[in-house]
Symmetry: C2
Subunit: 377 residues, 2 copies
Amino acid sequence: MFIRGVGRTKFGVLSQSLQEMAYEVIIKSLEDAELSIMDIDAIIISNFLGGPLSSQLHLNSVIASLLPDINIPILRVETACASSSIALNQAMYSLQDYDNVMVLGVEKMTSKSMVGQTESIQMAADKYLDQAQGLIFPANYALIAQQYMLKYGLEHEVLENVSYINHQNANLNPLAHFYYKKVNMEMIRKSPIIATPLILFDCSPVSDGAASLIISKEQNSDRNIKILSSQFITDTISLTQRKNLTSFKAAKIASKKAYKESGVSQDDVDILEVHDCFTISELIALEDLGFCEAGKASELIMNDEILRDGSIPVNIDGGLKANGHPIGATGLAQIYEVVTQLRGEAEKRQVEGVEVGMTHNIGGIGGTAAITILGAV
Amino acid sequence: MFIRGVGRTKFGVLSQSLQEMAYEVIIKSLEDAELSIMDIDAIIISNFLGGPLSSQLHLNSVIASLLPDINIPILRVETACASSSIALNQAMYSLQDYDNVMVLGVEKMTSKSMVGQTESIQMAADKYLDQAQGLIFPANYALIAQQYMLKYGLEHEVLENVSYINHQNANLNPLAHFYYKKVNMEMIRKSPIIATPLILFDCSPVSDGAASLIISKEQNSDRNIKILSSQFITDTISLTQRKNLTSFKAAKIASKKAYKESGVSQDDVDILEVHDCFTISELIALEDLGFCEAGKASELIMNDEILRDGSIPVNIDGGLKANGHPIGATGLAQIYEVVTQLRGEAEKRQVEGVEVGMTHNIGGIGGTAAITILGAV
């Protein structure tokens, strides 16, 4: 099974509507795959907040209206912030019947006020256990960071470093939300507290954006990328239902299954995209995926191992922190970066000798975890 | 591929929450299948308005919280009112990897005011072409009915008959929304106009409810039901984008594919469940599925052919009109009825000699159409 074409918009506060962003990436991925829309047998859409923020559900039919008169099967998948990785997972099954399937992730988040955005994003957390308690996402991840600090003696400086590295990476990614933004350690340290111990620069932004890709049964070019594994697992929705706050069980199980399915081990992974919705989750990801032991991610970060020339380059596109986090498109954007790196087309941010890449995409506070492992052909 | 167990709640204005309804049908379908939750390898959820009406998305993780500590893949599919038929379609693909997959449709609709409900349901129609023009669903289907009347000389009496028959059927279905309600032709005729020519009794109600089923690779009992075909097709979202208002192209294409895949023809179908969100759509369904020519459905209806002892019994559970229309569960409820009839377990409403059944589930105003064909083992 191969990824034959990819496409994405710039991420950020965009003037485009949901439909316009979707159309842009449909065309881009078709061009990249050297296919026509008539070659596409089915489309799986990923979107999280089309209902609450754009008053638009039934997106499969909305997307059908953007296409010529082709009447193919289209459907939407939603699993909060992990929606697009799971859309890919489902699309892979349908290659049983089809030659080429498009996966399309799109999110319009900036159409409402910040209050409206926060209320809507909260729908990924439990209504009774989280929403009713005011446990917004920064607060939930702050609880995780507090626990991590207590357990492993983490200093906030490490989180500042995660933020700084991601912003430096984004400065080399013209499509990143914060491509333009020059950030230094002083700016990070002086940023306001959001939920102790998390400050503004620990948090990913609210972004608009879309990404898409086309998967095919057959390889047709050496620019194709092989899908070695796609796995996802679900866990309880609220932290209040978990035994361990400093690790996501769903990510551990899904990654073990993905390593097994692909035959790839951590040592084989040349580039890694992790779901750093908050800086603390980058540490947890490194540990859950087995790149270090629990509590030891700080060492990888402070020893520069996650940089472009380090032993395990992480979030070279800027990550959710600085590339942006348009929820329904985030997983596909991670895959877009891995595909671009595997093809050797990442220009200034190209990592050398990339043969295997991996993405880690989380829904909610670890209630969903999806792992994708890709390889050069 | 087999349906091994089914379960549903009563439909209506229920006091249960989304979670409670989901839990009820999880248990019911497990008991019916004689399986434990530990036997379930994955779950596909169907829900349309959890976000706007219950402030709860990320339902895959919410459902994981209802289950013991099993950490399986769960995801949600949404395609407006056709969501649950398409969830089944996706679940069938995943039997590639799994032995038993649950499909779970749930909708809590009565949690908000009627205005809130109408605004939310409108999200299945186009934001710019329908919502902005005030083209709510009754108005859209009224345009269809007007066109049908102009084209084929339909009298409203036929629609009244559709409504009456569906209500009569629901009086034999203890789980139907309007099980308790005695309806006569005078009540129907005197009901208020909603959108000319549609009156109150032409419209399906706003219902809460849930339904689920378990599909398995292997047959384990003669109560299992064989899935002969599941097909779905997408079309443009707005009537303003269509050439023909009195037929749904997506339903025609999907049913042709389903007949071909199953090897079943109209003559083989012993029981039919169609998506009568408004009475006029029952006529259009009979024509799109080839049970009669375009414009001729009135004859089937007025000649009592759609009754329990007619040549093609339709909506014997009461249909959307009187069984109810909890959007994310509707397609599965149609399948529940066909399964129950195929098993010979429909008690007072049992149709004699049922060997093949078919469901027709529509999203929006025909933007999505899903066809399922089932057979006795």
